[in-house]
């Protein structure tokens, strides 16, 4: 299974990934490492589409990766519009591909 994590780097050396944890992405179990941002954990496993726009349902993914552009927002633990590029994963977290503006969990 593909994993885009960079384990060895000529300048940065060996990567120190955190503890392996499980989160849920669209209901499915998904492995990530503590300290990683949601968007990059997903990207590492080839999940690049994070939401769909309201009107045309077009896919959107990471654009700025520093929490400014809001292209990467997803619904996290029932809360929509979470900037996943700057939100770290947490064990048991429920991440959902967001449709449009998303819905608050009732």
């Amino acid at each position: 299974m593909k994993d885009l994590r960079i384990k060895k780097h000529p300048i940065l050396g060996e990567a120190k990934f955190g503890k392996k944890i499980t989160i849920f992405v669209d209901g499915k179990k998904f492995s990530a490492y503590e300290g990683e941002m949601i968007a990059s954990a997903l990207y590492a496993k080839g999940i690049r589409k994070l939401r769909a726009t309201s009107k045309f349902k077009e896919p959107r993914g990471i654009f700025c990766a520093i929490g400014r552009c809001t292209d990467c927002v997803m619904t996290v633990n029932g809360v929509p519009n979470i900037r996943t590029c700057i939100t770290p994963v947490q064990s048991g977290m429920r991440v959902k591909t967001q449709k449009g503006l998303g819905k608050w969990k009732k």
Binding site: H9, F17, K49, F63, P88
Partner: protein
């Protein structure tokens, strides 16, 4: 009331905090991330300049030394904290993970940095099109390879450096396109990627990015002197990532809210808050430093941050005017050096223009 609050923990904000704390000022540094350093930690290349500018040292090493200096000097750092507003009389609206509150400070430094410019072309919203800086964050901070086969747009230093770093991370940069007829960044950076096999195509542009649901390919083409595509020169290339490196713009929202006066300078990234030689804006007590005061580089941001820090220590009475002038002269001299030569002199001219406009307002 707090003495100084610095918004943004990048090189500018960190240095403003360090420099004022050095003279005894009580400083709070606020950053919305879980670690200060701004974009310094993704700069894995060696910096240019002289020994005073820490030339030959890698960006993240500079970041680490600034962090330990700020710790030693007792700079208080609020992380995961967003500044959402600046109001009259130096009130700041801040949001921590737990609460929202309003704080007041005698002096505020805005060191909020910059945001990458997008570039619109068919397919530009597809997952797999991202800023070059975003790709840099992905690979150097997050340690995730943003793509295996890459098209880079833009031959400024960001485009060239990030291309090199993509190669270092193990990707292939299939091509770098530049709309101008010549490479716009440093030729030494271009030479590095050229000898590593990257084709640098000047007078070329992206026609579209394509793929179902995400980028799978891109079309590039030659353009004429009027930047019009030359029909028949289109070429399809297989890429999974398109990186956009077409400049940045200042993150200046807080300055607008504060009522700072601006000037429009496209070469510095757009609207720039007017500021004095001490980096103070037209709103007394509010300072700017780094990219928010005009897009430059980390080494100039460091010096501008220092200037704001010294000026603040001076105006709060922690150091004498004479001592402050001596310290500031070092930073001014350092900035003058960094703004020399064909790459820097344009920035020096526009910075002089900003100062002139600032001074003319203050003589009224």
């Amino acid at each position: 009331m707090e003495e100084v609050m610095v918004v943004g923990g990048g090189p500018a904000g960190l240095c403003a905090a360090i420099e004022s704390a050095r003279y005894g000022v009580k400083v709070i540094l606020i950053d919305e991330n879980d670690m200060p350093g701004g974009q310094l930690f993704k700069q894995i290349h060696r910096f240019f300049g002289s020994a005073q500018h820490r030339a030959g040292i890698r960006g993240y090493d500079i970041g680490n030394s600034l962090l330990s200096e700020s710790e030693k000097l007792g700079v208080r750092v609020l992380l995961n904290t967003v500044v959402w507003g600046i109001f009259q009389d130096n009130f700041l609206g801040i949001k921590t993970e737990k609460e929202t509150k309003i704080l007041q400070a005698k002096k505020i430094v805005v060191g909020t940095g910059a945001l990458e410019n997008p570039l619109a072309f068919p397919g530009w919203t597809l997952p797999g099109v991202m800023g070059a800086g975003a790709a840099q964050t992905m690979m150097n901070i997050q340690r995730v390879l943003p793509g295996k086969r890459i098209l880079m747009i833009g031959s400024g230093n960001v485009g060239l450096i990030v291309s090199y770093q993509l190669l270092q991370a193990g990707a292939k940069v299939v091509a770098l396109v530049e709309a101008l007829p010549k490479i716009s960044g440093y030729l030494v950076h271009a030479a590095k990627i050229s000898r590593a096999g990257v084709q640098i195509l000047t007078s070329h542009t992206i026609v579209k990015a394509d793929g179902k649901g995400e980028v799978k390919k891109a079309v590039i083409a030659k353009i004429d002197e009027n930047f019009k595509m030359i029909k028949g020169t289109e070429k399809e290339i297989k890429v999974d990532l398109v990186c956009i490196a077409v400049g940045l713009r200042p993150l200046d929202e807080l300055c607008w809210m504060a009522g700072c006066q601006f000037t429009y300078i496209p070469s510095l990234g757009g609207f720039i808050p007017l500021h004095s030689r001490d980096m103070e804006t037209t709103v007394s007590g509010i300072y700017v430093a780094g990219d928010v005061s005009g897009i430059e580089e980390a080494s100039t941001a460091i010096e501008e941050g220092k200037l704001a820090g010294i000026a603040i220590a001076e105006s709060l009475g922690y150091i004498s005017k004479k001592e402050a002038e001596e310290k500031k002269e070092l930073s001014w001299e350092s900035l003058r050096e960094l703004r020399l030569g064909s790459f820097g002199e344009g920035r020096q001219k526009t910075k002089d223009l900003i100062l002139k406009q600032y001074n003319s307002l203050h003589k009224m």
